[in-house]
Symmetry: C2
Subunit: 423 residues, 2 copies
């Protein structure tokens, strides 16, 4: 068929009529579909069902060192779990802190400490305006943290295959008010790309105008490959250290999308100087994390290979879901020339780009027909997509048949909005 | 025997010789004893061993509403657990937030929010100096939070049977820089007293000079009775509401000393206005608490009666420990007139008062003989006991024989220090 751009008014009108027909058919079906959030599905959660049996009244509550994990203590987590996260994040175990169930909580608390106490230096908030560089599209909850603390966000539009490192480095080196950057370096949310070795090296070598600048390295999808050959991410901590920048990066990850989204364990890693500053706060904030849940995870996964094997089982469940979305995108939108999208090698999202100025209309049409997608703009600071064209697709939670219906409906809405605009 | 005050120099000297003898005998035994922290003992933790079996691959991961507790969501906790804590704290369930494993963490985060964002009003930190009233002796970790945030602490010495409400109210009503007060209203740490109805009523009726003043009501020992007839604590939230002060109090509690010290669940309760302010932060800070551990607790305890029955089993284990300490105090110190102590009806501590100016010397002598007690001064803001005479005793963790030895040694050190001073 013709690209929409090659159709004449009459052809566009008849195409719109056909699309309206299909749209109304969907509306009549009164569907309730949700593609809005990156949540694991039941089958994925079932992969870790054994986690619930790892600590019980028979097999006991002590770790290998004989620590009674039921009682108080060990504010930075169980040594064996620190070692496991050290493998994932490729840092020494003494540079790891294992916390509760939420890496977002670790990030929020770290930004808060930097703002009001500082991480060795003066509090950011005592130095006037505080800004963050925000590669976008990105993770809405990162941006929400900045907004909550009144941190000004500078949007840097991603390139198709990675962040715009030139612009990013220029900003960081040029403005002492820039204290941080949010990065999801592997299978970026929602773009799906992984930072290239060159991107990591250049970021690690940046000479920030602010001596207390920090890279918030949210490696949420460190082991979340869809294919046997996963993307390789260079170790930014090693690269920073080579440049004498080891205090510049703070890494985060969790098992939220390895075991249980709500009942996993989260960890962070940083230089000894950063870790000791963070522990100064942590020892006042809590007597210690839930070590029993940490013990469950140690017993479930002896090492990184166990986790990798586990993640292949996740991939078997969610890869067909990604393929379903991509297949229907090809069928419905492939020839139209009004949209393009990412084909990620891992992570949790597909990033869909529709005709400029149409994203809000598309999500509105979806909503009216019973499909919830991530609100247009959510992937940008302040919820403002300058182009109103990016939509984040989360394929993992719905089952395949729902997903197929939702994706078809989404495509219809993409065409609907485009045709409205073109006519 | 004679009171020390009635002895002449010669009698004091010979008493000191005898005490030195006993002290050196203890030193030779090379003991390693610890009475320093309020930790449950193994037998207490074993009472909740079944908690580990409450959620497993057989009995499932859904609450009564069908929520899959493994996945994301419910930032303020499972409705059924909110209802259980509502029973404990005597407030409506919608006024409860259930968090992770640490009530200290809830308190720290709440003070932090009040300092830098405010709880509806302006941030405390934007209004100049911030002060807290700190009834003392009190909980060292409360004072540590104030110190961390640079909040000036005003020490108000407790009366023998409760806080000095006159002085406390005068301060709160007289100084707009006073933004908060720390209270452990039931079985106070370490004094063991429970706030009288009159004390609660007067605190609830106070007219603070600061409109954004808050009472931090740490009801850590709400159900922790040693005897069948536990102390009764008046509901301060109801009393505050009667005075139109419902926004003035924020309540905290946890199951740390009901189930597992390190793997329980913590909760807070406050007015709808406070809860909605706190949720504004919470929804940015985390996607939700560990609902699986919350589910374990719901299944373990259907209602408050289940918890009360469970706490009687705790009392059977720890009451003999309290009695051991008190018996030895009577035997060793009863006639000397150089010390007095509390006989609590619940909670986790005995508060020992030694001769003015002797507490540091006592703890130093204990340490040299292999007994760790809470550092002198720890129960006061900035670690400064103006009288250097209070020592917090935590009898729950050691077994009875260790405890007996530790207590005898402690008494010897109390006498030793007193005699040194009197001669």
């Amino acid at each position: 068929m013709l690209k929409y751009s090659e159709m004449n008014k009459e052809q566009l009108r008849s195409e719109l009529e056909a699309i309206k027909q299909r749209y109304e058919d969907f509306c009549r079906r009164g569907l309730k579909l949700d593609m809005s959030r990156g949540k694991p599905c039941k089958e994925q959660l079932d992969l870790s069902l054994e986690l619930l049996n790892m600590v019980n009244s028979e097999n006991g509550y002590k770790d290998s060192y004989g620590t009674d994990c039921r009682n108080y203590g060990l504010v930075d987590g169980l040594p064996e779990l620190k070692a496991l996260f050290a493998e994932i994040l490729e840092v020494p175990a003494e540079n790891v802190i294992v916390g509760g169930n939420s890496s977002l909580n670790l990030m929020f608390d770290t930004v808060q400490q930097a703002m009001f106490k500082g991480l060795g230096g003066q509090p950011w908030s005592s130095q006037g305006k505080v800004k963050f560089v925000c590669p976008a599209p990105g993770y809405d909850r990162h941006f929400a943290i900045c907004e909550y603390f009144g941190i000004e966000m500078i949007t840097v539009q991603n390139k198709p295959n990675g962040p715009d490192i030139d612009t990013i480095c220029k900003l960081i080196e040029g403005d002492p008010a820039i204290k941080g950057i949010w990065c999801v370096p592997k299978y970026e949310n929602p773009e799906g790309f992984t930072y290239s070795d060159e991107a990591v090296k250049r970021l690690a070598a940046v000479k920030p105008a602010a001596p207390d600048f920090r890279i918030f390295w949210d490696n949420a999808y460190a082991v979340h490959d869809l294919n046997d050959e996963g993307d390789k991410l260079l170790n930014i901590y090693k690269e920073c250290s080579k440049n004498g920048n080891e205090d510049m990066v703070i890494m985060f990850t969790s098992t939220s999308k390895i075991t249980f989204a709500g009942a996993g364990v989260a960890a962070m890693a940083a230089s000894s100087a950063n870790i000791s500053e963070i522990k100064k706060r942590l020892t006042i904030q809590t007597i210690g994390p839930d070590k029993i849940n940490q013990l469950r995870h140690i017993r479930m996964f002896k090492n990184l290979d166990d986790i990798k094997a586990h993640m292949k089982r996740h991939a078997q469940i969610i890869k067909p879901k990604f393929e379903t979305v991509l297949r229907i995108f090809d069928q419905e939108l492939g020839d139209t020339g009004i949209a393009h999208w990412t084909k990620p090698n891992g992570g949790y999202f597909i990033s869909l780009w529709v005709l400029s100025g149409c994203a809000s209309r598309v999500t509105e049409l979806c909503k009216q027909a019973g499909l919830v997608v991530t609100p247009a703009g959510a992937t940008y600071p302040y919820g403002k997509d300058p182009d109103d064209s990016n939509i984040r697709i989360a394929p993992t939670f719905p089952d395949i048949s729902e997903l197929a219906a939702a994706t078809e409906l989404l495509c219809i809405c993409v065409k609907y909005a485009a045709l409205e605009k073109m006519i």
